[in-house]
């Protein structure tokens, strides 16, 4: 399709999205991602709680 404006022409020329190679994660990747995120979040919450003990 022809670009409708100069801006679109340069956008297409500078940002050719079709060249991106971001792979689709599998079930193991998705499950693990959320488990690791939950563990990291839990550690952070623990430290916030611990700090709150010291505040007056």
């Amino acid at each position: 399709m022809e670009p409708r404006s100069n801006r679109e022409y340069w956008y297409r020329r500078l940002v050719p999205w079709k060249d991106f190679e971001i792979p689709m994660p599998g079930p193991e990747a998705i499950a693990g991602f959320f488990v690791v995120l939950a563990v990291s979040g839990a550690l952070h919450v623990f430290v916030l709680w611990f700090c709150s003990l010291f505040r007056r």
């Binding site: 020329r13 500078l14 050719p16 060249d19 991106f20 190679e21 971001i22 792979p23 994660p25 193991e28 990747a29 693990g32 991602f33 959320f34 690791v36 995120l37 563990v39 990291s40 550690l43 952070h44 623990f46 430290v47 916030l48 611990f50 700090c51 709150s52 003990l53 010291f54 505040r55 007056r56």
Partner: protein
């Protein structure tokens, strides 16, 4: 000063004999370069967890973090926690390193961009490892200096620490290193928490701390206005992601396991274990404010002084063994990855051809040069936090090309060079022209060099010819093909040969 009794000396001596003995046993299993650098890719989850934990955890982490929390309060914990919320992304990325089927990270860059970028990475990777070992040695030597009230000079403790790990890593390669990581990881865990019950008792717990410190509220906030704020945390975290894949040891951290799951679990659990230890180090630094008073001790000496003043004399041998352990496991990995870069990627390129016997010999000789250079670099550092900031800036310069190449087919070798040159120039300008130094200037410095590097990488890639279709197809097929499914790769090679008209 800590007194070394005969029992401490026996513990220390037994420990060193055990480490070196492991090196000799492991040496019998080293049959080729893959065994030497990646342990034959045969380690299970437990080994990989301790390996990742051991590589990521060293005495300078404890010393640097305790120094920062002693200065700034709990907000200093971000010196170690800046990667906390990056860890899930490492879970996603981990298989790439195994699937790449590379021995060094420079092989990875070469596969994606060609030999010029492979060589660029080899030089920079060696420089990064000089920095890493320098920082590690400096932090640990500072700790020993504090422990012994300055009676063991910095240089001597560095020389003592390096001789041992050099010996066992040179003999047994990665197999000896990972086996030792297991033992040393456990000792490092002990080091992280041994001090806390004594310190807690000495300070008088929460009530004692609050009685001694009038502004306890400010010290237990996770941000320190003007120093470590939300902008700092976000930018430093992003900086760590950019640099992640470009660290020379990360490839072996994620490729030495038996399966992809072993690598993923090993790496993420090891890194998370380190975050857990960080809580202990950070707390030690803050509680030290109540124990010593703010500014009464040189920040780099806080962790060591606490050990010296609080632990009973019988713990001296164990504590020094823990410190040695944390340096040695890192030193061994750095020695191996640096010598791999030097021999496989630089020597092989400039000399031409392969000669495994010569490469193994040169790799062992270069390790000695590397260790001496790192000790020299360590002498130039002023304090541990500034040394850590130095290494943070060093890695992402080449990490930008890693991400561009991994996600964007259009990225090419000219863009990779441009991103590196622009980022390093911007870093130098930020430091010397704009004066962005210390924690206050750090987020501006990082934003500046990352924007310059990414911008230059994208722009130059778009304005110059792309990499060949064949190279790109081969690269992306390789990193998307799990180990054990090589038939896909063989089919590709076959088709490429047919297309080229070779029977």
């Amino acid at each position: 000063m800590l007194e070394l009794r005969w029992l401490d000396a026996v513990v220390l001596a037994s420990y060193f004999v055990l480490m070196i003995g492991i090196g000799f046993v492991a040496a019998r299993r080293v049959k080729n370069m893959d065994d030497y650098y990646l342990g034959g890719r045969r380690f299970g989850k437990a080994m990989m967890i301790m390996y990742a934990f051991g590589v990521g955890t060293h005495a300078d982490s404890a010393v640097g973090l305790a120094a920062q929390t002693y200065k700034l309060g709990m907000a200093g914990i971000w010196y170690q926690w800046s990667q906390l919320f990056n860890t899930p992304f490492y879970w996603l990325l981990s298989p790439v390193f195994r699937r790449a089927r590379c021995v060094t990270t420079a092989d990875f860059y070469e596969m994606r961009y060609g030999s010029s970028v492979g060589i660029l990475y080899s030089f920079w990777g060696v420089a990064i490892n000089f920095g890493y070992l320098g920082v590690t040695l400096f932090g640990s030597a500072r700790l020993i200096e504090a422990l012994t009230s300055g009676r063991v000079p910095l240089l001597w403790s560095m020389v003592l620490m390096t001789s041992s790990f050099l010996l066992y890593s040179l003999i047994g390669g990665m197999i000896a290193t990972v086996w030792n990581e297991f033992i040393q990881g456990i000792l490092t865990l002990i080091m992280s928490f041994l001090l806390l019950p004594f310190l807690w008792y000495a300070v008088g717990g929460v009530a004692g701390f609050q009685a001694k410190i009038p502004n306890a509220d400010a010290l237990f906030r996770l941000v320190a206005p003007g120093e470590i704020g939300l902008f700092w945390i976000f930018v430093v975290s992003f900086n760590q992601v950019v640099g992640f894949g470009a660290q020379p040891h990360i490839l072996s951290n994620n490729a030495a396991g038996r399966t992809e799951l072993d690598n993923r679990v090993g790496f993420c659990a090891g890194v998370t274990l380190k975050r857990l230890c960080s809580i202990g180090w950070a707390l030690a630094g803050v509680l030290a404010i109540a124990y010593y008073g703010k500014g009464a001790v040189q920040p780099d000496h806080v962790f060591g002084s606490l050990i010296r003043d609080l632990l009973p004399a019988g713990f001296a041998g164990l504590m020094i063994a823990c410190i040695m352990a944390s340096v040695m496991d890192n030193g061994a990995v750095f020695v191996l990855t640096t010598s791999a870069l030097f021999t496989r990627n630089l020597l092989r390129t400039f000399r031409g051809g392969q000669n495994p016997r010569l490469e193994l010999l040169v790799s062992r000789l270069f390790s000695i040069v590397y260790v001496c250079g790192s000790i020299a670099l360590a002498q130039s550092f002023q304090d541990v936090p500034s040394a850590i900031r130095f290494i943070w800036a060093l890695i992402p310069m080449i990490g930008i090309a890693f991400w561009l190449g991994l996600w964007w087919r259009r990225a090419n070798r000219f863009g990779a060079w441009a991103s590196f040159l622009a980022a390093t120039s911007a870093w130098a300008i930020g430091l010397n022209v704009f004066g962005w130094t210390g924690d206050a200037g750090l987020p501006y410095l990082i934003s500046f060099y990352l924007c310059a590097g990414i911008g230059a990488g994208v722009l130059v890639s778009l304005l110059t010819p792309p990499e060949s279709q064949d190279r790109l197809d081969r690269f992306f097929l390789t990193i998307n093909t799990p180990i054990g499914k090589e038939d896909k790769l063989h089919r590709f090679e076959e088709e490429a040969r047919l297309a080229a008209g070779v029977s």
